[in-house]
């Protein structure tokens, strides 16, 4: 299949968005859904075709000297800033782009399909806004695909915004509920803040490189430039601002942009709230695809990041901390979607850390085939995580659809009622916990290896977090499906959902099982050179062991109803509450935004505007009026007064002019 079919992959969702958005209202709800699914199916097939062609076909000469090169399929100018700075809207395929195509289309298709069932009530009637929902899904899919195939940094930025908006629209799908209303706003603004840094980063970078392109046919792109010491980028490396090179600033800012989308601490606060959206949306956007855009961004610019050790260290610290932090919070959440969201944060932090550690050029490079291991591991984890996290979310969706609640105390003991879901969820849990042979094991293992390469401390830390992952995931699992007998709260018993919802679960579960065997190391590497990895059994064994301990702990605490969790919570109530309240980060933000910015900056500025600036102009008018009133007595009405005025006037005129001219 020719790679140029990628255009269709991008175009179909866009067309679907316009089509469904403009004329969806006129059509039946189900019709729109079905059209959407079919279109998505076509997209998926095309995407698979293209990706596989890219990875395995060699006819188009994209493999040069054993190195898989990026292929630019299509690259028209979109916006000309200057002779050199041109924003193009192109399509470029390279390993990670191709991989992302698969990830996005797969999950998106699953979600499209799943939503057919999910977005209906129990009588099979589609919800209000069904058409809108599908249109937005198509929009998101388009944006995300556009993002990953971007040929230049600015295009990434553009689609960053686009996915942000899609996310905003979808989180706010139930716009009448205050929580969703609040959440989408928050999500957008936080990511917008991050995008601001991204933008600044782009500005700084492009100032030196004079191009946005990663690779370019005629001139070197940003990445291509690295090989050329004469390139102006070298200047960016030496120009310093506040002690750091311009390039370090630029890359750090760009990372912040990515961190916002990928919910790194402290910009993570929007993600848990984003769970107010429909659950399939959470699966698609806030678990599998959009949130990894940040990781993707860093990976995209990875060849530059590796040059700036300081930035990599920052990323590393942020990632490692976020991983732990989110995992800790996930351990105590009672809302399953929130717990999953924190799990997502933690996992993305894994990927981020993995990217960051891969710059370490320790002695293991020889063995593991270069410092791209972390990169590869990260991308691999991105892939597997997308699958199993989507699975988990969709399962959660099925459960929520069945019990009409997000709180796990409304669930318990659902295993009996929803066996398929239960099994699928279990597979997801095993995958994320890193139990072989499930997908997560393979990717997480590589990450840990990379982390150990960076330093033993990083490795231990990440392993510990992996253990926590196993614990909290199984905590959730047990609390949902076991713990105690289910009390039916609604008029009908919870049960497995219709096939439209179950089928995606099954497919994703299957992928989660086998995805680990994808030869990612061969295919997805930073420079296109295949890596030769082998399982490091010491590290793998340790992590599996730790995961098992985590699972065991969870089993002990949550399999059967008991008071152990309660007692443990009581024993360190402060910590527990802090974790439950997400370490008060939201309150902190609330304080900063409302008290500091809103009350402390906006209000005073608005007051200043009205009182001082506006007041000044009003004062001019007032002064004029007052003066006018004050001098009215001059016109006294008396003839002698007039003449007096006249005479004094003429004398003064003479005397003053005389004085001025003569002196």
């Amino acid at each position: 299949m020719p790679l140029s079919y990628t255009i269709a992959v991008i175009a179909i969702p866009l067309i679907m968005f316009l089509f469904l958005g403009l004329s969806g209202v006129k059509m039946g709800k189900k019709t729109t859904g079905i059209i959407g699914v079919i279109a998505m199916l076509i997209t998926t097939i095309l995407a698979y075709g293209v990706a596989l062609t890219y990875f395995f076909g060699s006819s188009e000469g994209q493999i040069v000297d054993g190195v898989r090169k990026a292929v630019t399929v299509f690259n028209p100018d979109w916006l000309t800033f200057s002779d050199t700075l041109v924003v193009r809207m192109g399509i470029m395929l390279d390993p990670i782009a191709a991989m992302m195509l698969i990830v996005i289309t797969t999950v998106s298709l699953m979600v499209h399909l799943y939503s057919l069932g999910y977005m209906c009530d129990h009588h099979g009637n589609a919800e209000k806004g069904f058409q809108r929902y599908y249109a937005f899904l198509a929009l998101f899919t388009f944006s995300m695909l556009g993002l990953v195939v971007a040929t230049n940094l600015f295009q990434i930025f553009i689609f960053f915004e686009m996915v942000g908006v899609s996310s905003y629209l979808l989180i706010g799908f139930y716009y009448t509920t205050p929580a969703a209303n609040h959440a989408n706003k928050k999500a957008f603004i936080v990511t917008r803040l991050a995008d601001l840094f991204f933008l600044i980063g782009i500005l700084i970078l492009s100032f030196y490189t004079q191009t946005f392109d990663f690779f370019s046919n005629n001139v070197n792109g940003i990445i291509g430039m690295l090989d050329d010491p004469q390139a102006s980028l070298a200047q960016a490396g030496t120009t310093t601002f506040m002690g750091c090179s311009a390039m370090a600033w630029a890359l750090t800012f760009i990372f912040i942009g990515g961190a916002g989308k990928s919910a790194m601490y402290p910009l993570h606060i929007w993600l848990p709230d984003a769970m107010e959206g429909p659950t399939p949306v959470s699966a698609l956007i806030h678990a599998a695809t959009m949130v990894v855009a940040g990781v993707f961004l860093v990976a995209r610019l990875f060849p530059m990041y590796v040059l700036v050790q300081g930035t990599m260290d920052i990323i590393c610290v942020v990632g490692a901390f976020t991983a732990f932090y989110a995992a800790a919070i996930a351990c105590v959440q009672s809302d399953i979607k929130r717990a999953l969201a924190f799990s997502t944060i933690s996992q993305i932090a894994f990927m981020m850390t993995s990217l960051a550690v891969s710059s370490a050029d320790g002695q293991l490079i020889e063995i593991h085939g270069g410092y791209g291991l972390g990169f590869m591991a990260s991308m691999f984890h991105l892939f597997t995580h997308a699958m199993f996290k989507a699975l988990l979310f969709l399962c959660a969706g099925a459960i929520i659809h069945a019990v009409h609640s997000n709180e796990n105390d409304k669930m318990h003991g659902l295993h009996k009622y929803m066996p398929i879901t239960s099994i699928a969820f279990l597979i997801g849990c095993l995958a994320i916990a890193g139990i072989p042979p499930f997908a997560g094991f393979w990717s997480k293992d590589e990450i840990l290896v990379a982390a150990y390469e960076k330093g033993i401390g990083w490795g231990i830390w990440m392993t510990m977090v992996a253990g926590m992952t196993a614990f909290y995931m199984f905590r959730i699992y047990f609390l949902i499906f076991h713990w105690k007998k289910h009390e039916v709260h609604t008029e009908h018993e919870p049960a497995d959902q219709p096939w439209t919802m179950t089928l995606p679960l099954i497919i994703l579960a299957a992928i989660s099982i086998v995805a680990g065997f994808v030869p990612a190391a061969k295919l997805v590497t930073w420079d296109g050179t295949p890596l030769h990895t082998q399982l490091n059994w010491t590290i793998a064994g340790t992590s599996v062991l730790i995961a098992c301990i985590g699972i065991g702990l969870a089993y002990k605490m949550y399999y059967k109803e008991n008071d152990l969790p309660e007692r443990m919570a009581n024993s360190c109530r402060g910590l527990w509450t802090a974790a439950y309240k997400r370490f008060y980060m939201d309150e902190l933000y609330q304080f900063i935004t409302h008290k500091v910015i809103f009350q402390g900056i906006c209000k005073p500025i608005a007051k200043f505007d009205r009182a001082i600036i506006d007041g000044f102009f009003n004062m001019l008018a007032e002064v004029t009026n007052r003066t006018s009133f004050g001098i009215r007595k001059m016109q006294s009405g008396s003839i002698q007064g007039y003449v007096y005025f006249y005479l004094i006037g003429v004398l003064l005129l003479a005397v003053i002019t005389m004085a001025c001219v003569l002196l």
Binding site: Y644, L647, I648, L651, A654, V655
Partner: protein, 171 residues
């Protein structure tokens, strides 16, 4: 060097002008004010005579003294009840008036003084202001002829007459 008679005459006239002017504006009886004005005008006429402008002096007496002052007296009698004095001035008003008047005189005086201090005597070669000359110039259309103003002032007087009619009409 002037003749002594001229000098004495000058001082008499100057004194009369100054004294009667002051009296004109300070007396509280309005009819007396008009009388003092008459004296001032006479003194002025005398001054014209002294400066050899006999015709002008005559006109001054005829028009001013004979016409205008009579007009004043008529108006005063029309508007004033007999024996009514003006109320004494408030000192505030008086001083304001004095200061302004003095300031005005001072400014003009300084200016005139700075200009005229070097101008000495009468120059002898005076164009004789004889009636003949005056008549000739008054009706001449050439330079220094005053036919046009003569006609124009007649229009002015006509206008004032019509204006007077307008004002005087009852309705």
């Amino acid at each position: 060097m002037e003749s002594l008679g001229n000098i004495i005459m000058y001082f008499v006239i100057a004194l009369a002008i100054i004294v009667f002017s002051v009296l004109t504006v300070t007396t509280r009886k309005i009819l007396r004010s008009a009388t003092y004005l008459l004296f001032t005008l006479f003194a002025t006429a005398a001054l014209y005579f002294q400066l050899d402008y006999a015709f002008l002096g005559a006109v001054q007496i005829a028009v001013y003294a004979g016409g205008i002052v009579v007009l004043f007296v008529f108006s005063i009698l029309l508007t004033q009840k007999p024996g009514e004095d003006a109320a004494p001035l408030s000192s505030h008003r008086k001083w304001l008036g004095i200061i302004t008047a003095v300031a005005g005189v001072a400014v003009c005086g300084c200016a005139v003084f700075s200009y005229a201090q070097f101008c000495g005597q009468l120059m002898p070669d005076m164009a004789a202001p004889s009636i003949e000359n005056i008549g000739k110039f008054l009706l001449s259309t050439d330079k220094l002829g005053y036919l046009l103003p003569f006609e124009a002032v007649s229009v002015l007087l006509l206008a004032c007459i019509i204006g007077g009619v307008v004002i005087a009409r009852r309705r």
